[in-house]
């Protein structure tokens, strides 16, 4: 009888330990984005590019999701992270290394994380950061239309959403802007990291023509982009080109993608 108990307890412990030691379920909802054609904002020609299908997280990664990550991976905690991977404002609004506190609601998007930290998280859940073209492809969807980028009203709507971006403590993900694919908050909550965020605007003066990269370079009147009156796109691209990989900004979070 006692042996049976020991066996049962051992089995119980074994199962329990394996659950604890393995990656906890990330609770990320992955939305399938079918492949398609897309006109990136910075196109040299007016030919579309083909985006291969992928999965994208339905929301930005939240404080509670990122908390699980740093609990399992101590080197990404605030007090332990190397300065090369994140500047001093990394997770500054959290109460401590492993507690969120009142400024970090569990279901709000995690912000003040560097590109390095965001990339590490996405790798941890079996994915990666989206490319800019993948991100823009999903972001071009309005509530009811797959590609609303040519709609002037969509660009104006986005500009107005950007004017009203919220401050810390941030609201929850998944409650406001839901687009055609069922992906939440591509606009209106926080800016998001992409894998190749700095690859387009090389110049930091938005009026000059760059020599190195003949793509996007200027405000209205530029000839390197498809639609010079698409101000909302300019705003996003300006934001991305002001960043460096170790920056940690209060209004910059991320979401992940998975290749099919």
């Amino acid at each position: 009888m006692i042996r049976l108990h020991y066996i049962l307890i051992s089995i119980f412990l074994l199962v329990g330990c394996s659950v604890l030691l393995s990656e906890p379920p990330s609770k990320i909802e992955w939305i399938s984005i079918p492949s398609g054609e897309f006109y990136p904002f910075f196109a040299d020609t007016v030919k579309p590019i083909t985006i291969d299908g992928f999965f994208i997280s339905s929301t930005q990664i939240t404080n509670s999701q990122f908390l699980r990550f740093v609990k399992s991976n101590p080197k990404w905690r605030r007090s332990k992270i190397k300065t090369i991977f994140a500047e001093s404002s990394y997770l500054h609004y959290w109460e401590s290394d492993t507690t969120l506190g009142i400024n970090a609601p569990p279901n709000a998007p995690v912000v003040a994380v560097s590109w390095f930290a965001a990339s590490a998280y996405c790798t941890w859940v079996g994915g990666r950061l989206p490319d800019m073209s993948e991100w823009e492809y999903v972001a071009s969807a309005s509530k009811n239309k797959k590609n609303a980028y040519n709609d002037e009203s969509f660009s104006s709507t986005l500009l107005r959403m950007y004017e009203k971006l919220p401050k810390i403590p941030l609201p929850n993900v998944g409650e406001k802007f839901k687009n055609y694919y069922g992906v939440y908050d591509m606009h209106g909550l926080v800016w998001e990291w992409t894998r190749d965020f700095n690859s387009v605007i090389v110049s930091t003066d938005s009026r000059e023509k760059t020599n190195q990269d003949g793509k996007l370079f200027c405000a209205a009147g530029s000839i390197g982009n498809v639609d010079p009156s698409n101000y909302s796109a300019f705003v996003r691209y300006s934001m991305w080109s002001s960043l460096q990989a170790k920056f940690c900004l209060r209004n910059l979070g991320f979401r992940c993608v998975k290749d099919i």
Binding site: S89, E152, S155, S156, L159, R160, Y162, E163, L165, K167, W191, I201, S203, T204, D205, S206, R207, E208, C218, A219, A220, S229, Y231, F234, V235, Y237, S238, M239, S241, S242, L243, Q244, F247, C248, L249, R250, N251
Partner: protein, 494 residues
């Protein structure tokens, strides 16, 4: 021999004297000025630059001060503010104000510029100062993400009044939201002294709603592209330098306005009503014009205007593209107090009656197209009367005959002439002034007599009686003739 030696000595000293005089002449002609190049002036010392909120400027720089290093700390703040009563707008600002804080340096100074982007801001920003000689006016060097600070340095090698503005894409939007200001680079020795200095900057704003539409108004991209603003204002909002916020001066003082134009689109025709600019530093540069009424300030440009105020009053600053001043907000005030000078300006001396020839006052020209066609029937009379009404009466009494509250009495269901159409006839042929009560409302105004023929009066009164809910009836030209000769029916003044 002694004489020769003497004369040689004299010749020598004379030559030396001549040489010295010539040398002196040359240096005097030169004036020493062309030797000065601010680009080469060495700086001494270091201090934090004093920045001021509009409409104030920092104190003039000590003319004896050597070139120095100045540290400018400029913070970008995105904040909601009031455009006009009931209307708010999200402004993007340098230093919390539109226009941004005023920077005052001297040619030869070295400026260490710190641009700080508040961590709560949503957008990246930078700065292009037109006083900077260098890539992008500093824009590339100062491109700053929120929660960051960038630093660059420049030497002010040209004097003048310069615009600064944000140059982050989309540039038009950043400027349209208020990201502009002025930096003054004083010439060595300073500008001529004045009693008052003020900072005024014009800007055009583009909102989704029209001018005055209540609520929070977002920026409108299409209107900005079409260069069709809803607001054109001084210092960021309607009334920013008017009323209680007016600029002030005393009679006898000299006033200097540092006037900028942030645009983004419009050029300003800057004028102060009731004043003439004694000096205008054209486009903020060295050249001075005198005795100027209105000066052009380009978008992204500036001007300095100096004038002495000689009489008291409220002098209105406008963009003389006048609909902008009165309908879009391009209006400011300079209130001057002190003793009057009746010789320079007397004010109104008298107001007296002016009688045109013929003795009849308050007449207006007759209705258009008065061919004396006689009405054959009541229906025809009404039809012709309708034309008279449309051409002449409806401008005041309105197409629905309801008039305008407090100004023009109603003709609809009017109890004024309901029982006596002669009162209507009399008002038309004799005019009507003084207090009357119509449908329970008091009016106290003056209707001019109308130059209409008897036929026309009969037609229009018949039209009135049979429209606008009145009881009906008909009036004949003979009736009109009678009223004409017997004088005003209702003398008013009840």
């Amino acid at each position: 021999m002694g004489f020769e030696m003497c004369s040689n000595k004299n010749k020598l000293s004379f030559s030396i004297l001549l040489g010295m005089i010539t040398a002196l002449l040359f240096t005097a002609c030169d004036g020493g000025k062309s030797d000065y190049n601010p680009a080469n002036e060495k700086v001494t010392g270091e201090s934090i630059a004093e920045l001021t909120l509009p409409p104030n400027v920092p104190a003039p720089i000590d003319p004896h001060r050597a070139a120095t290093k100045l540290i400018v700390n400029m913070e970008v703040l995105e904040k909601e503010g009031k455009m006009t009563d009931g209307v708010t707008y999200t402004y993007w600002t340098f230093g919390g104000s539109v226009p941004g804080q005023f920077i005052r340096v001297r040619e030869g100074d070295e400026v260490e510029f710190h641009l700080k982007n508040h961590p709560d801001n949503k957008f990246a920003h930078n700065i292009d100062l037109h006083a900077v000689t260098g890539q992008g006016g500093g824009a590339a060097a100062s491109f700053t993400a929120p929660g960051h600070e960038t630093v660059f340095s420049f030497k002010a090698i040209n004097p003048g009044l310069y615009v600064y503005h944000c140059a982050t894409a989309p540039v038009g939007m950043h400027i349209a939201n208020g990201m502009y200001g002025l930096i003054l680079v004083e010439p060595k020795g300073g500008l001529p002294k004045v009693d008052r200095e003020y900072y005024v900057m014009q800007g055009d704003f583009y909102t989704a709603g029209r001018n005055g539409e209540a609520g929070h108004q977002p920026f409108d991209m299409d209107k900005a592209l079409a260069e069709n603003p809803d607001y054109v204002v001084f210092n960021g909002s309607v009334g920013a330098i008017a009323g209680d916020n007016a600029l002030t001066a005393k009679v006898g003082e000299t006033v200097r306005l540092y006037v900028g134009n942030g645009g983004p689109n419009l050029v300003s025709s800057f004028h102060v009503i009731g004043e003439i600019f004694d000096d205008v530093y054209i486009e903020g540069g060295d050249m001075k014009n005198h005795n100027v009424q209105t000066t052009l300030i380009p978008a992204g440009g500036a001007a300095i205007v100096d004038f002495k105020v000689d009489v008291p009053g409220t002098f209105i600053l406008v963009d003389h593209s006048i609909f902008r001043a009165f309908n879009k907000g391009a209006l400011g005030m300079l209130k001057v107090t002190g003793d009057e000078n009746k010789t320079i300006f007397s004010g109104q001396m008298e107001d007296k009656v002016y009688m045109a020839e013929g003795g009849r006052s308050l007449t207006l020209p007759s209705a258009k197209g008065s061919t004396e066609q006689l009405a054959g029937s009541k229906a025809e009379r009404i039809k012709m009367g309708e034309n008279v009404y449309k051409n002449l009466c409806q401008a005041c009494h309105q197409p629905d005959g309801k008039g305008m509250k407090g100004v023009f009495p109603p003709l609809a269901k009017s109890d004024y002439f309901a029982n006596d159409p002669n009162k209507a006839i009399s008002a038309i042929v004799h005019g009507l002034s003084g207090k009357i009560t119509v449908n329970g409302e008091v009016f106290n105004s003056a209707m001019p007599a109308q130059s209409l023929s008897d036929e026309e009066v009969a037609n229009v009164v018949t039209f009135l009686l049979n429209n606008f809910g009145n009881k009906g009836g008909e009036v004949s030209p003979d009736q009109v003739k009678k009223v004409r000769s017997s004088g005003t029916v209702d003398k008013g003044g009840h």
